[in-house]
Amino acid sequence: MSFLDIKDVRIAGIATALPKTVVRNADLLAAEGKKKEEIDGFIDQVGIIERRESQRLTATDLGCEAGEKLIADLGWEKSSIDAIIMVTISPDYTLPVNACILQDRLGLSRECYAQDLCMACSGWVYGLSVIASLVSSGNAHRALLFTGDARIHWGTGNDDLLFGHAISVTAVEFAEGADGFKFHFGTDGSGYDAVIMPKSGMRNISYEEDYERKFSDLRNQCSKEGIMKGMDVFAFSITQVPKSFKALENKFGLKREDFDYVVLHQANMAINQRVVRKLGIDPAKAPTSLAYYGNTEASSIPATITSQLKGKIEQGKKKLLCCGFGTGLSWGTVALTTDNIVISDTIEVEENRFDDIKWV
């Protein structure tokens, strides 16, 4: 059992940036020649009507827009930001990491701590624990946690209809005396192949004897194509999420009914409805962004907060219970109290917004 209790830290605000381009699942399925009943059945089951997808905007493009907006809304001096972390599986490059690129694009101080975490569905909760650890000592006063993915295509059948592009940024700051965050984490690497991009790393690259061919092969072998064992993910989610809630509640003497909102990773409707039922919470307290965003991976919890809880949680204190779960297999649950949190208006970014920048 892995628990963390990090005090003297608070979430100051959250912002989300999305590509402006909307892709409707019904249109994609109709173009494949699917019948209306099949299309309605699929959309009913996964709960995803449309998603945001961009062919051009990367995670730092969207991150840049979200970051600028949130920094302005908070009224933070850029020079006061001591650390940035990005949680993504779709960095602009494998090297360097996105957090370094964002330090420059956002005009942050060169005295800035910057790193990426390569995680997906559980990534916001994990990222929050890392950034909170940096801030809670008061050494780093202000920090930005970027989460989410862009330009990813799963490319295998209907799995590609689940994921949407979005980058969120969560601003975290030192706040002496604040309750902070209480976490439970877990990992089951035996399910590593339940959600996997088999050709995304070094495991499945085949080296040829011939030096020249080795390099031409490498060039063609890396792929972000993902595969998923749907039934395994379903079984994992509906069993592990309630167990994680129970573990957190037992450890810290919490009760889920005392929370104003339960914000779950947005996997798909079949999984989320089932989890909400098993948790025995009022569905009205479990907001969802699936219908119009799809599964936005490490952004799904903050993007659900910015899209569904804007206007509901900014005043005073609100208690949130959030759980991320998925590829790894990996899961994390966090209990936190917001205190006059800033929720920025969601930013929609035009496809050609950054066309004038020349990148390597």
């Binding site: 064992k229 039934m231 395994d232 379903f234 079984a235 994992f236 509906i238």
Partner: protein
């Protein structure tokens, strides 16, 4: 643990278009006309709820009859 007959009855409850009286321990469930991935998820949910066992996709795919699924559950308890 529930008996095989109780499990067969629970299994039959998940089905919409199949007459429950025709469902037995020897029924090859994947040959049922209405069998679908959604029904597989219902089965996994039911097993989670009734037996506190997490079935894997392969457990369902590698089972032929309802009794085979029951035996997998038994082995995981």
């Amino acid at each position: 643990m529930k008996t095989i007959d109780e499990f067969v009855a629970l299994f039959a409850e998940q089905l919409d278009d199949t007459d429950p009286s025709t469902v037995t321990a020897q029924t090859k469930f994947r040959d049922l006309e209405e069998w679908s991935s959604l029904l597989a998820l219902s089965l996994i949910s039911m097993v989670d709820e009734e037996f506190d066992v997490a079935l894997k996709g392969d457990d369902v795919k590698n089972s032929e009859t309802i009794e085979d699924v029951y035996n997998v559950i038994k082995s995981k308890i």
